[in-house]
Amino acid sequence: MIFHNYLYRLKCIVRDRTMMFWSMLFPILLATLFNMAFSNISSAEIFSKINVGIVDNSEYRENTFFVNSLKSVSGEGERDLFEVKYISKDEGDKLLEDGKIEGYIYFDDGIKLVVKKSGMNQAVLKGFVDDYNQTLSTIKTIYGKNPSMDQSKLMSSISNRIDYLKEVPVSKSSPDSIVTYFYALIAMACLYGGFLGLKEVMAIQADMTAQGARLNMAPVHKLKLFASSMLAAATIQLIIIFILIAYLVLILKINFGSQLGYILLTCVMGSITGVSFGTFIAIIVKKSEGVKLGVMIGVTMLLSFFSGMMYDKIKYIISTNVPILSYLNPVSLIADCFYSLYYYDTHSKFFIDIILLCGHNIVFALITYSVIRRQKYASL
């Protein structure tokens, strides 16, 4: 009887095209749009070599220190700062006007830098010129006071920079704000399992649908009907989440780290949470199906917003100002599970989130069953 109901509920869920669109296709569409939007942000952060012009006059050629300094930071290598063009002054003005170079340097009784606008590249050029002037002044001062000093040793000592700071990463992965959006998206998709939960509760409740009335007349215990229906919903939801994650990893190349077992556990808990959340909405909203669905969508969107799906900073704002909300928000908890698997070396935060999700599930399921186990109704 349980398996019979489970099989038929699977069929009913899978053949509901509207539900399949919202639960499965919509998150995939959203992920695709996210990827298209965020790929531009990523490319904007990559450093490109700065196009600079050098006026190749006699004073420039005599200034070997500058020539060597410039050679050390320009060329074909990936770590080089500048892409150098040797030009005349007039050519320099024209190229600057056309935007082909960010600035040009010429020597005329000292080093001169010409730029057209201010920006990051112009700041880098100025920084380079300032650094050259400062180093030159240091050399002149030291050599002026110690003329007998070995020039090559002095140059070598000035050129050597000692780093007194060292970057120590706090996590095994480097921070990536974009991946937060995708975690929130998966969490939202998990909570969309609520549509399935809502549908299943309505199907077995006599005061909600005629089909529920007929099912209540069958010689089957309500708990068996409820359990097998929820199992069917959770099964479908889990498959949907796996498809979404496969799409994110294999097609969109989003990195989730390598802890497959824990990721699967998160998917299972997330799916069950979504379904149980839907059943909870179905029984506490005492209105028509349309209103229940509207509440379901609204609440899911709100919880997704608070978990950082639309604005990643909101998650930080809530966790610092109203941390209890983070623990009560199932979308935030699910997203946090992925986040902690990706960034942290230990699993303590992960398991805290999983336990909290279990708590949510138990509360939702208990409240739902305490209402639906009632088999006689005040009105139909």
Binding site: M1, H4, N5, Y8, K11, C12, I13, R15, D16, A203, A206, T209, A210, Q211, A213, R214, L215, N216, M217, A218, P219, V220, H221, Q375, K376, Y377, A378, S379, L380
Partner: protein, 310 residues
């Protein structure tokens, strides 16, 4: 005794939907529950099926108190709801198989029952159709098939022919008679007196949550004073003639509705000839003549003062 309902009371706030309702259904009969919309038919059925809470009274089915977890009783009941209760995502075969499977776990036996149910309601040509592709009448037939596939001993039909085409309605009524012949006890609720008169062996008339009369078709009609209703098409008639007709033996009321003279008689026989003789004697020309025996609507009208279809 299959169903025994005693002093059933159901209130919705200040409204008393069922007011000390009593009824009994015997094995093997087709019991009709006839009443206008809002009289309490569906409420009574839902209380009997333990879907609705009630305030007072007792309900027994097959000699045992009915409750939501009386699974041994539920196993023998088939219900056809007023609203079509099938799943849009399953086709005809799947719907029937799904519901039948909640009663019959043996797959082979169930397959046979499903085929018989489809054959019974005449949906063989529509086995793979989904509910949204079926007409209203065919959908009602599917609704019935889902309720009777497991061959229950007691079948309750709550207004199964609402918004159904005449062919499907006829099919449904014939089907109910066949089910009864095969041994099922039927409870049939409706506000269509023609259906109840046609198929029910015993009828209870309900109004405002109370049973106002119970009996066979003839017994109910025998309770009232109204007898034959004669309608005569006439050209012209004045009030003096109407008074004369009123004083004819066995005529209890006379009305002139346009060009139709409607005369109601009491339970006496041979009411038509004296009326026609009188009209001939006065040289009053007349056209078509209709004679109707009393209907359940007349029974309802006499007892409550209103029509069944009000």
């Amino acid at each position: 005794m299959v169903i025994k309902v005693k002093n059933l009371v159901k209130r919705y706030g200040d409204l008393t939907a069922l007011d000390h309702l009593n009824l009994e259904v015997n094995e093997g009969e087709i019991f009709g529950l006839l009443g206008p919309n809002g009289s309490g038919k569906t409420t009574a059925i839902n209380c009997i099926l333990s879907l609705l809470k009630f305030d007072e009274g007792t309900i027994e089915i097959y000699g045992k108190p009915m409750s939501p977890d009386a699974y041994d009783i539920k196993r023998n009941i088939g219900v056809i709801m007023q609203n079509v209760a099938v799943f849009e995502e399953l086709n005809v075969v799947e719907n029937i198989n799904y519901f039948c499977g909640l009663y019959v776990s043996d797959k082979d036996k169930r397959r046979k029952l499903v085929d018989e149910a489809i054959d019974f309601v005449g949906l063989n040509d529509f086995r793979k159709f989904y509910p949204k592709k079926l007409s209203g009448g065919l959908l009602r037939r599917l609704n019935i098939a889902c309720g009777i596939a497991h061959k229950p001993k007691l079948i309750i039909l709550d207004e199964p022919t609402v918004a159904v085409d005449p062919q499907s309605r006829n099919n449904i009524l014939e089907g109910i008679l066949k089910l009864n012949k095969a041994g099922s006890t039927i409870v049939y609720t409706s506000h269509y007196m023609e259906e109840v008169e046609r198929i029910c062996t015993r009828i209870a008339i309900i109004d405002k949550g109370k049973i106002i009369a119970t009996g066979t078709n003839d017994e109910l009609k025998g309770m009232i004073n109204s007898g034959e209703k004669i309608t005569v098409e006439i050209i012209k008639i004045d009030d003096r003639i109407l008074d004369d007709i009123r004083s004819l033996p066995n005529i209890v009321s006379v009305e002139l509705n346009g060009n139709l003279l409607v005369a109601k008689s009491d339970r006496g026989k041979n009411n038509l000839l004296p009326l026609l003789d009188y009209l001939k004697s006065k040289d009053i020309a007349f056209g078509k003549i209709y004679s109707e025996p009393p209907t359940l609507n007349d029974v309802f009208l006499e007892i409550t003062g209103k029509e069944l279809r009000d």
